[in-house]
């Protein structure tokens, strides 16, 4: 009998998966445990392994194609089986075949794919007239947040979006009015803002690198980012507390450490020191390492520091948060090596769910870009995130004297359900204690 390989459910929330890369081709022999493909889920890129031995008869899904969990992605032939056996000899399936597909393939995955997804990632709910008006006005419904029950997109939502688009339209190109409602479908290519092509505007000279209006479907990761951050910002009462640290001692320590580590391949960054300082500062401020759980607050026994990693544009951009587990009990060298390895892996191959889960606090650092001050959105179920700016040399006051020194801004975004302002302030005080007396970070 042939073996159908279906898209596995690789995480609790996974509904679809994308084959990023096939490691097998038709005709290949595979054994149980072999890696068949890299699969991108809503959270991570993971390896899909074979549970059976056999020969690859066919690949049903191309690279880059997203399919529902349970969809057949490949067919294996068992030993002594030929491709001709794939077509069942008898049209009536055997009882075992009938019984089996319960967990297997939806007969028409195409139907599921036709259902557009809502802005939040769930099924799109939209009233019929809202759908029609969206078509008439060229409004992209998947970008709308519905104001009706269960997020249903209703007439007013579309008209509001169309109105916004309309204003832009009339400001830019009065000629590009939307088609009146008619029996013929309107030109769906009309975007919310009109495309002014060089042909239409002969007065404009073509400039290399000038922008072109276009639209690109979002990746699974971009959708996940969108959904998680909207959830976070909408459900968590955020507020920010900032502090400026004197990082002269920290910069000196780093420099000294790196001099001593020269040649070992290790190079300590400000962020590595910050990860450990943040972890150690938890002992005096356990609420900062806790999570809101509706009727209780969960205090975490482990201090797992999430580190936000931006991904390269050529891999679709986006960001992931890698988890440095038990950062309070790891040496700076270990933290540094782990962070480096996880960043590298995230940027090239993608992280596993394991490598991204269980953080209890997150650091987002834009210091390498020279950003001196910014705020970040909490990474649930964390109760806080630290937005760290660059260590910048500037005129400072030291011991009542004007001097030149390094300072760094840090802004803590907090979940007010868990962390009150004074608690957040106390945490920054503890953090300052570590950063301004950095020898403590090493022990």
């Amino acid at each position: 009998m042939t073996i159908e390989i279906t898209m596995p459910r690789l995480s609790d929330t996974m509904e679809k998966g994308t084959i990023i890369k096939w490691h097998i081709a038709e005709g290949d022999e595979v054994s149980a445990g072999d890696v068949l493909a890299d699969v991108e889920t809503d959270k991570a890129t993971m390896e899909m392994q074979s549970f059976d031995d056999g020969t690859v008869n066919s690949l049903a899904v191309g690279e880059g194609q997203a399919v529902d969990v349970g969809t057949v992605v490949a067919v294996l032939l068992e030993e002594d089986e030929s491709a001709d056996d794939v077509m069942p000899a008898s049209p009536s399936p055997s009882p075992s075949q009938v019984a089996e597909p319960a967990e297997a393939t939806p007969s028409e995955p195409v139907v599921a794919d036709r259902q557009p997804k809502a802005a939040g990632g769930g099924p799109l709910r939209i009233s019929p007239v809202a759908r029609r008006l969206a078509e008439d006005h060229g409004v992209e419904v998947s970008t709308l947040v519905g104001s009706g029950p269960s997020g249903r997109i209703v007439k007013r939502d579309v008209l509001a979006a169309a109105g916004a688009g309309e204003e832009t339209r009339s400001a830019v190109a009065p000629a590009a009015k939307p088609a009146q409602r008619s029996m013929t479908p309107p030109p769906t290519a009309v975007a919310a803002t009109p495309v002014t092509t060089p042909e239409q505007s002969p007065d404009l000279i073509a400039i290399p690198g000038a922008l072109q209006s276009h639209r690109e479907p979002v990746t699974t990761m971009r959708q996940t980012i969108a959904q998680r951050l909207v959830d976070s910002k909408q459900t968590i009462p955020h507020y920010q507390v900032s502090m400026t640290f004197n990082v002269d001692p920290l910069m000196a320590l780093r420099s000294s450490l790196n001099t001593q580590l020269a040649g070992t391949g290790s190079k300590i960054s400000v962020n590595d020191l910050l990860v450990r300082a943040c972890a150690l500062a938890m002992y005096e401020n356990p609420l900062m390492n806790a999570s809101w759980a509706d009727d209780s607050i969960v205090y975490h026994g482990d201090v797992n520091i999430g580190v936000a990693i931006a991904l390269p544009q050529e891999r679709g951009g986006g960001l992931v948060v890698a988890t440095i587990r038990n950062a309070d009990r790891k040496s700076i060298r270990v933290i540094s090596a782990e962070t480096k390895a996880l960043s590298e892996k995230a940027r090239t191959r993608g992280l596993t769910v394991e490598e991204m889960s269980d953080s209890t606090f997150t650091i987002s650092n834009l210091g390498m870009f020279g950003v001196d001050d910014f705020t970040a959105i909490i990474n649930p179920p964390n109760s806080a995130i630290l937005a760290a700016g660059a260590a910048i040399q500037k005129p400072v006051v030291r011991d009542g004297e004007l001097a030149v020194g390094y300072e760094m801004n840090a802004t803590l975004s907090n979940d007010h359900r868990v962390v009150d302002g004074a608690t957040a302030a106390q945490y920054l005080v503890s953090l300052r204690e570590f950063i301004e007396n950095p020898a403590q970070i090493l022990v």
């Binding site: 009233s127 019929p128 029609r132 009706g148 209703v154 007013r156």
Partner: protein
Amino acid sequence: MSRTIEFRDALREAMSDEMRDDPRVFLIGEEVAEYDGAYKVSRGMLDEFGPKRIIDAPISETGFAGLGIGAAMMGLRPIVEFMSWSFSLVAADQILNNAPKMLYMSGGQLQVPIVFRGNDGAGGQLGSTHSWCVESLYANVPGLKIVIPSDPYDAKGLLTAAIRDPDPVFCLESERMLSMTGEVPESPYEIAIGKAVTRREGADCTLVSFGRPVHFCMEAAEQLAKEGIDCEVIDGRSIKPLDIESIVTSVRKTNCCVVVDQSWSFASIGSEVAAEVHKHCFDDLDNHVHRVHSDDVPAPYAHNLEAEMLPNPRKICEAVRSATYNA
């Protein structure tokens, strides 16, 4: 020339005009003659037309309804008055099983040009058995027509059309509206059966109703206008045939529909309108059709409970707010 008269006078004018014009027309019912009508609808008619055409019937709805049907089959044009449509239930076999089917069963030989008329709906503390709204129950039967005037003008025009119609027509009046006054032309006129009228124009939600609840809709529309919700009120005038075209035209404009039907909700005029609107306006709707009905209980006797059980402006406002996502 028109003047202001009561609903009951308008009904009488329609009958008297037709009786003067057509000797085949006669009125039969309980207390229609000597007592001038239980609700004084037929006041003075005995004097003008005599006991052969204004006939007091015994308390036997099956008997005089059947008599009327037989007379219609033989070429007369009877008007059968039920003191209340609640009492027509005992004549169900005559009015549902014979009158509407006779033309069909006789292969087109026996027309039944009869009008059944009387008070429909809760009259006000008459209790469960005397407060029937029969429209949903009866409209289910093929072969009959149902008109339901909501003011004196419609009462005269629709009843005139009913008397002149070649088929059985049920005219549903309301004890609560008999004293309502309104401008009514003196000369006879017909209002076409099966054509609705727009009582109020609006842009945000179409209210569809029939008979007395039309007034509740108008009241609700006033209140909702203050809240910024602009309602269009359609008075169906006829229940069967149903002027779905007028309703559809309105809903295509407002994208929203609430049906107010004083009968119970299950398999009702309201559900019929909703089904038709969903069928014809599927792509025009911003929400499913909402319905306001009498609560699914026998009519209570207590005054306050009865008012709460029936469609009322508060319930209508709530339904419109919900349908327009303003709840």
